[in-house]
């Protein structure tokens, strides 16, 4: 446990020979020349966002379906996931290291734990907002409770579920920037390599914002695709 993520970071400025970069200024020329070195960190950041949100969604969906059957579970689940949510990610990245070591596993476990409360709450709200008459009508047509859940309640809860996914994704993009403290790279690592260099900070931070925006639009697109009745209804 003597690995120190920050000590490993080297202060280097490839192509920093020109006066603009040497002055730590904002240099479009330097950015154009060095943009490829952000490619790998960006991909790491995508990985650090998409995988935790996907795993968090699977766990939350399971928990929400369980709590839908057994209502009394909702309170305890929210309390526990609420505590996960309150622990700062920087602290979590260190608290997990004695158990999961330095690297992706630690980052993943912490990032997944942050998505749980957000997604679970939104799925639960979505399921509760399904009109009781709709459920009654489905039961009246002879659907079993399982069929009602998968064919009526979950589809009608899609807008809330997707809203939860969008919030979880945007939050995770931001928290993944701190995954550098778990030794998992990402755009945060680039920021820390040279936090005084304006061009570096703008490009790395800008890419994170861009990633959040693109993922948000993607989820919105998926939502429109899976809820065609929302567009059909005039």
């Amino acid at each position: 446990m003597s690995l120190l993520p920050l000590a490993q970071l080297k202060i280097q400025k490839p192509g920093g020979s020109d006066s603009c970069a040497a002055a730590n200024d904002f240099c479009p020329g330097w950015i154009v020349d060095n943009i490829d070195r952000y490619w790998t960190p960006l991909l790491e950041h995508v990985y650090l966002t998409v995988v935790p949100v996907a795993i968090g969604f699977a766990i939350s969906l399971g928990l929400a379906i369980l709590a839908h059957r057994r209502r009394w579970l909702t309170g305890p689940i929210i309390t526990v996931t609420g505590i996960f949510f309150a622990i700062p990610s920087v602290a979590a990245f260190f608290l997990l290291q004695p158990i999961t070591g330095l690297g992706y596993t630690t980052a993943m476990v912490a990032l997944v734990s942050y998505t749980l409360l957000i997604i679970f709450r939104n799925i639960t709200t979505g399921l509760r907002n399904v009109p009781a008459e709709t459920v009654d009508a489905a039961i009246g047509q002879g659907l079993t409770h399982r069929q009602v859940l998968y064919r009526v309640e979950l589809p009608l809860a899609t807008p809330e579920i997707m809203a939860g996914l969008r919030i979880a994704t945007a939050t995770t993009v931001g928290l993944a920037a701190l995954a550098v403290f778990a030794g998992a790279g990402g755009l945060g690592a680039e920021i820390l390599v040279d936090k005084h260099f304006k061009s570096n900070v703008v490009v790395a931070g800008g890419l994170a914002l861009l990633l959040a925006a693109v993922l948000d639009l993607l989820i919105l697109g998926v939502q429109r695709a899976v809820t065609p009745w929302q567009r059909a209804r005039g």
């Binding site: 730590n24 004695p98 809203a163 919030i167 931001g174």
Partner: protein, 254 residues
Amino acid sequence: MIDPIPAFLGDFGEAIEFIFKERESVSGGVQIGGIPELAGFGLTHMEVSLAALLIAAVLAIPLALWLGHIGRGDFIATATSNVGRAVPSLALLAFFISFVGLGYTNVIAVLVLLAIPPLITNTYVGVRQVDRDTVDAARGMGMSGMEIVRKIELPLALPAIFDGLRTSAVNVVATATIAPLANVQTLGEPIITPQTYGFVGQLGAAIVVALITVAVDFIFARLQRAATPAGLKLAEPAPRRLFALPIKRRPEST
């Protein structure tokens, strides 16, 4: 104090010892850890967090109350919360470090910017959720716009406002951990300088930060209950965090 530390705790045991007992630094020469040093970091941590939360509240809550009162600001309320969520705190801090500089003022400015979005969104939504009939009744009784804000909308929006304060407080205390990057020695100092504090110091600081944040979350949850008007408590349990994006159940006209 726990003495001796049980061996099965491993790194955690050493980290707990670091919190309570001074030791020589990894690089040698200086004494690190122990209650006095961590209390100093903790004090700075609380100072910057509290200052930022107060400034953010003074700026954001009146603005959002007014926007909610006149009913304009759906766009501002949703846009600030969406952008606020997506901006990585590390990127914002680094942006201030590289463009503005190091030090207390800049750290507080970053924390204020992070605290504002939840406050605006929650206050605005809280005011808009007030039953319009209630507001109309107040107007019919002859209340002025100012009175309606002060006596009707503000009290009824208090649970939502405190929910926003809770979210912001937790965010601010969590983010103050990376303030040492801007030369402000908060509890993140051992985390940011492993060459002096080692992994044990990092872990010890992480334990303290986690405990403080969970405590802050708990305290604000209590405050929220205390701030809820008695009449609302009877009606229903106070709503917790709003993880709401505007949900369009109807198709957009595009």
